[in-house]
Every structure is written in structure tokens, then in C-alpha cells.
Symmetry: C2
Subunit: 522 residues, 2 copies
């Protein structure tokens, strides 16, 4: 199912590849080959530059450069006034290296446990759709969650912001503060207070390469291999991937229509952290009630654990103002807040941020420094001005209106085409809906997705959000357990992202889906 | 010595922060406060929207929104036709949260071992210069290694490349291939063959956020906590930092004027990897002879270990063509090659890359995906065109000429001002020179740097490149050992970066340095 985009690309060749170029380079290669073939045995002297230059018809300067190059690479030794000498090892070794240069010897790789965990997790939790943008059959309409519409990006505004960031004179082109430029962090600080009720200092903010790096940094800060982190189940597969790669043990947190169920919290001992999406649970869409929020905060304080609040789409509420962040309710400095611009601007910017308690933020900045020394300056400065100038909030309002129209179109089309044959969940906010098919088993999800793809529609099963930890088999794997029965009972579901499709495509896509589903839905 | 840039920034406030804004938000806050104060006890009913709207002088629609917001946040319960009711927990909990929201409770942080290693390494290996661009005293002329000159960046070319990348229409704004855009990898593939003698497929290339992320990914791929990696000593402190943060044990590789000394290699058993700078050893500047290169490759093959080749400034050779990469000599697929654009374009781009053997590259791409889902698209596409259009190689040649002039100016000035009182090393390539002061003890480096800073000159000790592992004290710490005696014997040295200063500044800076050094150098 998963198509390997890399393989395809391996045959791509740049149209211009003139080889290694210069005359000097060609002569260096030729002399290496002659040394390799024994024309100049070890310890022997090469011809004088004057003699060989004449023989080869090149300038003496060129040949001097050739000899210097061979000497720099250690094949010959030169000294002023004496002729160049072939070094002892040159002959035996050059030809092997040259002959074997392209030989692909396959070795059993000795990879780290982190790499092993990553690969095992991906095997256990295959994506229902390809990793990259490649798709075996081009889809006419794709309800994949994640992408945004090209037309929604504020291109001309961004162009002038990037241009002015680029043309701004600096004393020098220096590595910046690994936590992010002060301009962006100050703009974010003010924005977070206005828009999300978050009061923090700029010191508490670390700019990241999207929310994924924020998750990775949180894991590296808080978790040792073998430590437990609790994650929503169903929940964000890429979050589980990040922590599994760090060697953590994943504990599933049950989720209902309001979000994480907190009834069993007291049984969750020893977990050092918890990943939550309280504003709009991914994928089920619950908005976590205040009582549960407070119970989670109490749990974290009692356990000396941390809550990682992934506010991935908090900007998108359609019927009411965004709910206050968990971070802003936290009295005990146990919450790390993650925000992203992937849902409001573009996932291609790779811009997100962390807001951490004061005692953690400086350590996160050091980790960011050890990891990649900080995020690129141009895009940070463009974004800082976009936010500080008020354009960002206008843009978010525009995005909210556009996506509200898409959401309405989707709900209307589903009602019109499928009516009672489907159940829709989690549409109070965000950029996706969950489509459940009552009476259809979860085991049918892949077949339905395949049939939809054949009809040109991208329809993506909810299955991968029921992630399974690598280390211990998920309870659903053990026949006879409650988890297994629940998984078998679960009805088929799909995550329908609508941020990258037009309302016309939504109408058309859902109509086509109905015809596909006619073969599956009773 | 190290100045905390963060602290300063904490007082920065954005000029516009009108609070939470709308009337609805203000009313939500007011009602929360009233519930908190007991005006509406748990279980009691709020006034009808009509009554309260009249009382407050707002529209009923506004007040309906307020109630919906309070309900969404879980403070009240609403049901059609009935009056809103305050939930049980609301009173007890809201006021605590509100009162304590800004209270800063200091907790003993329970951080990961990775974070602990990082902090311990930074304590043991303090930077001689600040982390960020902030500097206690503004320096008139700074010989810090790392930054480039603002005027050297091809701003207008970059602007048009970014603009056309930005305006290019895409079917959707999607997450890209985590390994990098195919355009950039294809352009790099051709460039590497032309310029560095590296033959690879695009599959083997992974675009990274600078060489630092490449180091981090290599470490995550190859090393478990407790595994040994060998690093040049003296060597690149940020490399040591990356691997120490991953919990690796660092084994020092001795270095002479040609690069890594391979005589003691056979004693180095159990190391799983080695970080090398064969093209231009950092900081001493040696170009690794072919014999040593081959011995390192044999060692790696025998040990089933990997060589990480950090070719951070391979473009800068002044007297001969760049030496072939270790990667291109490798017959056994044991070399991971790291390149960067931080030395030819700008460290602020955060663009680098890895070329890995075919059996490792796909795993690196997955790790990159787990870590940050890939690098931003705009800068990748701009760079792809810059390389593919031939502009990059012209730019590199221009940079080489400019930096050759700076280098000549530096060497001439040092000769003129200091003559035999100093010894210069490692200037065959790169963007820095090592200035040794015969007869002056290494322990004087900090005092000399301080005196230089007071005279407005940034002069940076070589000391931090003699990194010390966190776990075991470096042999130099143990009195009576050879390492200790060597460290005590070592003369004072400084790394002079010249890529961000003009030739005029070089003349002036070295003249000032001479006056400073008069107080220290015999």
C-alpha cells in the first residue's frame, strides 16, 4: 500500500552534469590511474613538470597544480627542487578504491535502538496513505487531513515580508538565538495573550520546526528510554511515533466524545508525561471540559509529571470563541504548550513553537541548540512582522470563514448523500470531521479506502489513530481481552480533512463516495 | 563570561496588546469572576439571557455567545429551553486557577538524562563567547569563527528565487518528502559529482537543518546511550555536544598538523562511529593524507563502525582543488557525508545535507520525519534553482576569491605585526586560522581574550575545541598523566575567523591585537 517515493526518484538526473570539469581534474584522474596501473611504481619519481607538460601539451602551471593536488591528497610527495615521488601505499590502494568505488556491498546494518524502535513502530502502525505527496493513482479529490489549499496562503503579503526580511542589513550573518528571534517571540507573546489567554514571557517561548519538533524536544527533555508517556487513544500517530523513537513506553489514554476520560487517572502511576489535544481532540474532536482539565492538572502536580498540550488547531472554532488553553489554567507549572502555523499558514513553512514553564524553557533552548542550532531567520522575521502587524489575526479570521464554509458544505453533502447511514463526529472545530459507518466493521476500512481511491477519491481510515505501541502488543492484539473485543466491535471510520478542497469538490467527492459506499454500507 | 540573552528579552513588550479584545470575551471573564466569587453558587441558575442582556446593556445574541462559551469551557451547563446552571466544581476551582495563574512555583525539575548530559557538558565545556549574537561590550572587530559577511550574501538573486518558489502554484500545500524536495536533491546530486567527486543517487541524500541536525540524526541513527564515538581532539565542540546529549561516550582522537593520527587506531575497539573533518581539520586545519584516509576506512570496515565526514568548509581551498571526499574513497559503505550551506551562503538559512550509504539513507529519512517532518519548502526550492542554474558555483568561486583576499590580508597583518612572536596554522583552506603564541601558556587564553575584548577586538581561545567529555574526566584533569602534562604544556592559541570582517578591519584589528598581546607575549 505504501508507495516508496524515493525509489522513483533515483533515476532523476540533472540535465547538466558535465563530469568533473577542468583540465586539471582530468589530469589528476589520469595520473592516479597511471600510478594505479604501475606506470609509476611506489618510490619512483614522476617526470618533471616541464617535461610532462610538454609531453601532454599543457602549461607548466597546470601541471604544477596537478602535482600539488596529488601531493595534497597524499599520493605523491613533493619537495622544492626535487622531483615528485610516488608514496609507498599509493599503488596498492588507489586501484582498489577506484575499482570498488561503486560496488554496493550490503552489510547488516547495526542501527541504534532508536532507529529500531522507529522502524518497528512504522511496521506496526502503517500509514494508510503514502508518506510523501506521491500517490499511485492521482486522486481527483483528496480528503486527506493535513494539507491546506494553495489559494489560501497569503502569497503577496508573504513575498513582501520575506523580501524586507532578506534585504534588512545586518552587522553580520550570524547564528541566531537557538530559541528563535526576539522579534518573533515578542510578537507571539502578545498574540498568545490576545488570542489564547496565555500569559508568558518571551523567555518561555522556543520556536521550532513545526509541532513535530516541539514534540521531539519535549520528549528529549522529559523522557529517558523506558519512561512512560500517556497518549490519547485514538490519537495523533505522529506523536506516538516521536516518543516511541525516543524509546518511551506508550500508555493509552481512553477518549470519549469530550476528550480524554479522566476516570481511570489514579491508576496511571509512574507516567512522566502526557500528550493531550484538549482544544479539539485528534481525531474525535472533543473539547475537554473544565472538570477534566483540572483533574489532569491535579494528576500532573501530584505525579510530578508534565502535560504536553498540543494546540494544533485551536484557532478553528466555529460556534464559539476558542477555549482557554490548559496552559493558562496551570497553577503548578506542569504544562508545555505547543502551537503551529501548519494549520493557519502552511505545513511547508515548518514553523511552530513551544511555551514552557520558566524552569524548563532555558533547557529546551539548549536542546534546540544541540539539535539544529535554531530555525531559519528569514521565515521567522517574515512571520514576526505578519503577526505584529495584525495581518496574522486577519488572516486567521479569513481562514476560519473559508473553512467554516467548507465544513458546512461537507456536513450538508454528507447529510444529503448518506443521511442516517453515517454518523459525523467532532466538527465543532478544526479542519476535519470523523465519518463513522454504523454497521460496517473497522476491518473493512482498507477495502473501502481502496475502492474510493479507484473512484478517484482520497478517503483515509481512522485506523492509524488507534496506534499500537511497539514494545508491548496492544491489548487489542490479545484475543479475549476487552481491548480486542472493542477493536473488533469498532465500526469503520474515516478522517475527512476538508481544508484543501473546494466546496464544489466536496459536493462532487461526497456524491462519488456515496456510490462507493453503496457497496459496503447496509 | 557567558551572557544570557534571554533574560534581557523578558521585558520586551509588543507595542500593541489591547488585552483579550471583544465584548464577549470581557463578559466571559466577568461571569467567571462572579462564579468564582460565589455570586452564582454551584448548581444555581444563571439569569436568563434576556434578563441579563437587558441588565448589562448588551444584545441577547452577545449574551447567548457568552453562555455558549462558558458551557464549552465546562463552567456551566445549558440545555434548550432551560436556564443555564453552574456546574459543581466551577466555584471551588476557578478562583484558585485565576488567583494562582501567574504564581511562579519553583519545582525541582525531573529532566531526562539527555538534558542532564547536555547541561553537564556545557558546564564542563563553557563557550568562550556568548551563545547568541549578544555581547556584553560591543566589539568593533570580531574574529569569531562562524558568521559570514552580510554583503557576501547574494540578496537580489535569492529574493527572486524565493519569490518564484513562493508564487509557484501547487495542487495543495502539503507536507513534503521528509528527505527533502526532489528538485534540491537532484541539484545536489549533480553538484556533488562535479564539485566533490561524490557519486550517489538522490535516494542517498537527506536535506537537514544545517550540519548540526545532520550530526544529531547520525547520532540517533547509529548510537545508543553508552555507545562510544570517537571525535577529533581538538575538534568541533558542537559535534561533541550533539553526541554527549545523546548519551554517547566520547573517545578523543589525537590530531596533528595533517589531521587525525591513525597510529593508535587498533587500540580503539568498540567505537561504533567516528566524527572526522578530513578536508580541513577543525580547528587545526590539516588535510588528511590518503594513507590515513585509507587506514580509517579499513578500521571502519573491520569494526563495523561508521565514519561521519563533516565537510563543513570543503569549498574553501586556496592553493589547490578541493580534495576528494572520504565518502568517494569508501568501498564498504561505511561513510556518512555531511555538507552545509552555512559557510558558502549563510548560517541563518539552516540548510545542510547528509549523503548516506544506500542501506542507511531511508532510515535517516524516517528519523528526519519523526524529528521534524522535513525542512521548509521555500528555501529548499530557492536553493535547488540556485544550484541547478549554476549560480551557486559562481557564487562559491566569488566567495573563495573574497575569502582568499581576507586570508592574505590576515596572514600579512600577522606577519607584519607579530612576526616570529606568533605561529599560524591551518590556512590552506577554510575560513579561519589558528594563532599560536609560543611561550605563552594556554591558561592565559581567557585573560588575553578579555583584554582583547576591552580593546574592542573579539579574539576567541582555542580552548573549547579541547573538549572534555562529561562522564569521565578528561585525562588532562588527572595530574601526573600524559594528558595533563600535554595540556599544561600547550601554548595559548586562538581561532581567528575572517569571513565576516573586511580587509581593512583585519589590518586594524591585528594592529590592535598586537598592542594587547604586547602585555602577554614575551
Amino acid at each position: 500500500m505504501q508507495k516508496n517515493h524515493f525509489r522513483e526518484c533515483s533515476v532523476v538526473q540533472s540535465p547538466f552534469d558535465p563530469g568533473r570539469g577542468s583540465r586539471t581534474a582530468a589530469l589528476v584522474d589520469r595520473l592516479k590511474a597511471e600510478i594505479a596501473d604501475g606506470a609509476y611504481p611506489p618510490g619512483s619519481r614522476l617526470p618533471s613538470t616541464r617535461a610532462l607538460a610538454a609531453e601532454l601539451g599543457v602549461s607548466r602551471t597546470t601541471l604544477t597544480n596537478v602535482y600539488e593536488q596529488l601531493a595534497a591528497e597524499g599520493y605523491i610527495e613533493t619537495s622544492r627542487g626535487a622531483r615528485a615521488t610516488v608514496v609507498d601505499d599509493a599503488r596498492r590502494r588507489i586501484p582498489q578504491a577506484a575499482r570498488d568505488r561503486t560496488r554496493a556491498r550490503s552489510l547488516p546494518p547495526r542501527l541504534s535502538r532508536a532507529a529500531g524502535s522507529l522502524l518497528a513502530f512504522e511496521r506496526t502502525n502503517p500509514l494508510a496513505y503514502p508518506l510523501g505527496p506521491a500517490q499511485a493513482v492521482p486522486l481527483a479529490i483528496d480528503f486527506r487531513y493535513g494539507p491546506l489549499a494553495d489559494a489560501d496562503f497569503p502569497k503577496s503579503a508573504w513575498r513582501s515580508l520575506v523580501t524586507s526580511a532578506l534585504l534588512a542589513r545586518q552587522p553580520r550573518l550570524d547564528y541566531g538565538d537557538p530559541a528563535g528571534t526576539i522579534e518573533l517571540r515578542a510578537a507571539l507573546q502578545a498574540y498568545l495573550r490576545r488570542a489564547r489567554g496565555i500569559t508568558c514571557t518571551v523567555d518561555q517561548i522556543v520556536i521550532t520546526h513545526g509541532s513535530q519538533q516541539a514534540l521531539d524536544l519535549c520528549g528529549r527533555l522529559l523522557l529517558d528510554p523506558g519512561d512512560t508517556i500517556a497518549l490519547e487513544h485514538p490519537g495523533y500517530r505522529m506523536g506516538a511515533l516521536a516518543f516511541e523513537t525516543l524509546g518511551a513506553r506508550l500508555a493509552p489514554l481512553p477518549v470519549d466524545e469530550h476528550g480524554v476520560v479522566t476516570a481511570g487517572l489514579s491508576a496511571l502511576r509512574g507516567a512522566r508525561a502526557m500528550l493531550l489535544t484538549p482544544s479539539h481532540q485528534f481525531p474525535l474532536g472533543g473539547i475537554l471540559p473544565i472538570g477534566r482539565r483540572l483533574r489532569l492538572l491535579e494528576w500532573a502536580e501530584r505525579q510530578h509529571a508534565y502535560l504536553i498540550e498540543d494546540d494544533y488547531d485551536g484557532e478553528y472554532r466555529y460556534d464559539s470563541r476558542p477555549v482557554d488553553a490548559l496552559f493558562s489554567l496551570d497553577r503548578a507549572q506542569r504544562v508545555l504548550y505547543i502551537g503551529t502555523f501548519s494549520k493557519t499558514l502552511s505545513p511547508q513553512l515548518r514553523l511552530g513553537y513551544l511555551v514552557a514553564p520558566p524552569h524548563l524553557a532555558p533547557v529546551l533552548a539548549r536542546l534546540k541548540n544541540a539539535t539544529d542550532r535554531g530555525t531559519g531567520r528569514l521565515e521567522q522575521q517574515a512571520l514576526a512582522r505578519f503577526i505584529a502587524g495584525g495581518q496574522y489575526e486577519r488572516h486567521v479570521r479569513r481562514m476560519r470563514r473559508r473553512n467554516a464554509r467548507r465544513r458546512e458544505a461537507l456536513l450538508a453533502a454528507l447529510q444529503r448523500e448518506l443521511g442516517d447511514r453515517c454518523r459525523i463526529q467532532g466538527t465543532d472545530g478544526g479542519l476535519h470531521a470523523v465519518l463513522w459507518l454504523p454497521g460496517v466493521r473497522a476491518s473493512q476500512e482498507a477495502a473501502i479506502a481502496r475502492a474510493a481511491a479507484e473512484a478517484g477519491i482520497g478517503l483515509h481510515p481512522i485506523g492509524p489513530t488507534y496506534w499500537r505501541p511497539r514494545a508491548a502488543p496492544h491489548r487489542a492484539d490479545v484475543p479475549g481481552t476487552a481491548g480486542h473485543r472493542a477493536a473488533a466491535r469498532r465500526e469503520a471510520g474515516f478522517v475527512l480533512g476538508y481544508a484543501a478542497v473546494s466546496t464544489g469538490q466536496i459536493d462532487e467527492g461526497v456524491a462519488t463516495l456515496r456510490r462507493v459506499l453503496d457497496r459496503f454500507v447496509p
